[in-house]
Subunit: 361 residues, 2 copies
């Protein structure tokens, strides 16, 4: 078997070092004679795993004790409901930026719970940019402002964030770019992220929440939907997805070992630059996204025709590059280049793109 | 490393064959060059995994097309809310049998949603038995009747089920004994089970629901809490816990290969018999559970003193047997002997118990 580069949008490639450690100790964790998958969630060995995963995330993002860090289930899709159910009072409006399919879903779920205002939207231009923050029209005294920091399907990303306040905090779905760059956590009231891009496997969701929001939570919510439940029991109210949390521990260990977010961001910048430079050189490839809004995680691009795109995907697969098809809702091609995609993989893709253009351009 | 027998109550031991397959193909699933953990949930390879897992469960339990089989997140704790939110109308009462800590939690969540009646309880005798079904006091035209088929903490299990009707169906939390014995699925309206005992790792919940219940589901539920969402999208509304579902596929493959539920039940009966016979012989060991209600999954037993129990647990660990401590809420000792615990493991424990009694009796 030759090397395969996996450009899937998520679940996606994980660091090779992480996968090898997980494989090597799969049957015998820490010389205990059984897998961490078979350990009780109340055992000291698993407690150490979840503590380390939390400590790593706190360390990487410089998170103070003002925030809780939780490991939940249900993905961002569950957070779409949990955020308004917990944090939006009946007397306030929640502001949402509409920047793609995931924000549309977040908006739809919030609308079931209360008053919602769409304060910015790029829907009319098929989500090809993040609306300039200066142009937004926020509600006075809004309950919160919700954004999707990176849009996997349309290939856009926030490169700066709206300024908010403790009373009207910023809430971000960071499923597809958490831990891909440095961040001032204090600009956010709540961040949530499905793990299956930069953190680990699918099946676990990281939530980082400022404790100053907890006073908003109504009484008598279903226990599993109530952030307080999980904060009080430090993510161990019920059996958590132990193996997925273990992989998060390994992945965050790997980020720390590789220089932390400063280095990860530098490498991610290089990878994105390399690929966008290739796309922008000549007119064979094109990127539908405005330059200022381009994602460094999901690079969407088109070829001159759909026929060529189909040939491109087939040839790429033959060369060992998979997951390059654009999302079924938009078509085209897309390279997801999360943390775990090495620079070599992007260089390999870029070289392939050059050759493909020569043959077909 | 010598063999370790893992008697954890969950997450718990998984079949050695399953773990070896998962380890062997951890980095390279089906010769694709990447892990199934790194595959897209929309890929043909993962579709085949989830289809096979569903087909296996349908085959093992002989489930007709009248039922949907779902793979969800959030554990039984989320089902405690989803069941009443989806299925209990404002004009009906839900009946609950109170047989342990998990049923208490299920009752508490249902009480947040509507009218609940406890139709049977063994709380006064510290949950040492399942109340005789003939003595139950059901509500006329109840919305449904909810039971917990096996109680991990107290070591009790239903060995027969109450007869219900399509209008007032039986709903069962089978987290700790699903696929451990033959079952007539048609006696149930809905079954749910966290995977982390007999099915796979924590982080995925199997729900089997009769489609005749779908008409009850109110409009405008949060999408993730609505059974219809998951049925319509065949458990792929959002990114499912792909690796956990893959392990369910392997575990159910293993059950089928080993003779299906008829054989599994026979082995489970032997294991339980062996252990209860040891406990009942002499008066060194004792079982707090009434004979007719004893669980074949979680065998709770006591020694003459708490000091001896502490010594027992330490010695057992030295001999390679872990997870034998009773639940923190009840103390004592407990051997969880789910499907994946081989007869040899129970024999090893029983031999150890005999020797321990000789030394300390």
């Amino acid at each position: 078997m030759s090397t395969v580069y996996n450009f899937n949008a998520g679940p996606s490639t994980l660091p090779r070092d992480v996968m090898e450690i997980a494989r090597d100790e799969f049957l015998n964790y820490d010389n205990l004679g059984y897998s961490i998958m078979e350990a009780s969630h109340r055992s000291p060995e698993f407690q150490n795993v979840i503590d380390t995963a939390e400590k790593n995330i706190r360390s990487l993002l410089n998170i103070s004790d003002d925030y809780s860090v939780l490991f939940l289930q249900g993905g961002a899709s569950t957070q779409f409901s949990m955020v308004p159910v917990n944090l939006l009072s009946t007397t306030q409006t929640a502001d949402y930026a509409q920047t793609g399919a995931w924000s549309e879903k977040a908006i739809k779920e919030a609308q079931r719970c209360g008053s919602v205002k769409i304060v910015a939207s790029s829907k009319d231009s098929n989500y090809n940019h993040i609306p300039e923050i200066e142009s937004w029209d926020p509600t006075e005294n809004n309950g919160y402002l919700h954004i999707t920091s990176n849009n996997t399907i349309f290939g856009t990303q926030f490169h700066q964030f709206p300024k908010c306040s403790p009373e009207s905090p910023l809430i971000a779905d960071m499923s597809s770019d958490i831990l891909s760059r440095k961040l001032d956590i204090n600009e956010f009231g709540l961040i949530y992220a499905g793990a299956q891009k930069n953190l680990g496997p699918s099946g676990v969701t990281v939530v980082i929440i400022n404790k100053n929001l907890l006073g908003r939570i109504p009484k008598n919510l279903p226990a599993m939907l109530d952030y307080n439940t999980h904060i009080k029991s430090t993510s161990l109210y019920n059996t958590p997805p132990t193996f997925a949390i273990y992989i998060i521990m390994l992945t965050t260990n790997w980020i720390i070992k590789n220089g932390g977010l400063a280095n990860i961001e530098e490498v991610n910048n290089k990878k994105a630059q390399l690929l966008y430079d290739k796309i922008d050189t000549g007119d064979f490839y094109s990127c539908p996204v405005e330059k200022a809004s381009r994602s460094k995680m999901n690079v969407c691009f088109r070829l001159p025709s759909e026929e060529l795109e189909a040939t491109f995907l087939k040839s790429a697969k033959d060369e060992g590059m998979i997951g390059l098809k654009g999302h079924r809702s938009v078509g085209g091609t897309r390279a997801s280049i999360y943390n775990a995609m090495p620079l070599d993989g992007v260089q390999f893709l870029v070289d392939f793109m050059s050759n493909f253009e020569k043959k077909n351009g």
